[in-house]
Symmetry: C2
Subunit: 271 residues, 2 copies
């Protein structure tokens, strides 16, 4: 397979990266404005929570893309998919971890990903409340608040129980695929475990604060920035479900330091 | 049992609260200074991590207590127990969650508790990196950055799977009492679970961001502020191990909204 992303030059990718950062800057402003005024919350059909802030951010980003890149597609958590056939597709989750956001926990994040011919070229995970922005561009590196991220690996003989692993709540697995046993398996093999109900698992894997993270049964917008962020940081992103077809309902991925992802991948099987 | 804490008046407790806040202010300064200069890290006999920052904070607090309350006892994680027979005992964990702190995660906290005749009268959990300070004094209320905390309860008929529960990593249970099954039991009953390797479970329960938290097999300094913080916030603190004797090695506690603590307590048994 030829690398289609090489059809774009670094200057183009850097410009798109800058545009994505500008979108994230304004998303922060929307969140902060709503903090002052307050905001409404409602429950979606799948019983997950959505707030006025989610909708305002997604509306804003869609409008900016339409103005500045009218041919590009946008797929967002709240408002569907436009320009489905474009080579360039923006995928976004305006607030990933809305349940945490509305409870005042700071681990939520705004996720913005840009794909070119189905391959990730730009990714942002922005934790407004923590003042932590993670940005990556294909061939440009991955950064936390402007500082380059570079993941080292761990010795291959490190015992499983010493790995610092992060994952999502067991209810996700149970509600979505009825597979509680998979969660218990993770606990048995990797007991030094943390659980976050948001993309904090992803940014923690990009810095090496977690040696690896396991994201199970997510939607594509939850994972829109994960591959470019981890790969540009020097880590490995192992999709357990192929991402060639975005119509697929749920995606699972193991990310982090190379040897740790390799060990987890041998143990974790979604099917 | 008469409430021994009523021997102290509110004015005295407020003064001790102010002193504890002053200790926490200076602890933050120590952390911030070390962030600039860098600091050494070493492994303790129990394989847990300790940093120069832990030692500097504990040394500083011990010195301040000795100067201003020379008759008071101090029990700290790193440097032992002085004035064991005093009615007033300061119990402290200079950095709870050192493993997270050294990895750059913001969930660690400085814990300061003051006990009078074995009963908690002042408690502080200070999350420096999150700029969140939790303070409580007996009869004075519990506060987050100066705002009063008041926990409401949930309807008794709420299904277990809807409760937002936080706990500590399974490795704590496995390494300390070899009881992995207890963790699996928590997951089965309360799948909407988060895991933190620090006192963030406690502050999240005090605000209601978690409906309840389960702290298993902790040392007394990990839990030095938990009871006063939760009770003054209107929640319930159910010790699963009696705290009358601090020589006891490990303590477990369920904290949070009253009906949720009650339901968890029926299910979770440490022995």
């Amino acid at each position: 397979m030829t690398e289609k992303r090489l059809e774009l030059n670094k200057h183009e990718i850097q410009k798109l990266c800058n545009f994505a950062n500008d979108l994230a800057d304004h998303s922060r402003k929307i969140i902060r404005d709503f903090r002052i005024t307050g905001f409404g919350i409602s429950e979606k059909i799948d019983k997950s929570v959505v707030s006025e802030v989610d909708l305002a951010i997604e509306t804003y980003i869609r409008q900016r893309v339409r103005e500045e890149h009218p041919s590009h597609g946008v797929l967002g958590e709240e408002l569907g998919h436009t320009n489905k056939l474009s080579d360039f597709q923006w995928v976004l989750d305006p607030i990933d971890g809305t349940a945490e956001f509305v409870k005042g926990l700071p681990f939520y994040g705004t996720i913005i990903g840009l794909f070119y011919k189905q391959r990730p070229i730009v990714g942002i995970v922005d934790h407004d409340a923590l003042n932590e922005r993670y940005t990556a561009g294909f061939g440009l590196g991955a950064f936390r608040n402007g500082s380059l991220l570079r993941l080292s690996d761990l010795p291959i003989e490190t015992p499983n129980q010493e790995y610092r692993i992060a994952t999502s709540p067991p209810c996700n697995l149970i509600d979505r695929i009825g597979n509680a046993e998979l969660f218990h398996q993770i606990v048995r093999h990797f007991p030094n475990l943390r659980i976050f109900h948001s993309c904090y698992t992803q940014s923690g894997a990009a810095t090496g604060a977690f040696d690896a993270s396991i994201e199970l049964c997510m939607r594509i917008w939850d994972l829109a920035a994960v591959q470019i962020l981890i790969e540009e940081a020097g880590g490995v992103c192992n999709w357990l479900t192929p991402i060639s077809n975005w119509a697929q309902q749920r995606y699972s991925v193991i990310i982090g330091r190379p040897s740790v992802v390799s060990k987890l991948s041998k143990i974790i099987s979604v099917h």
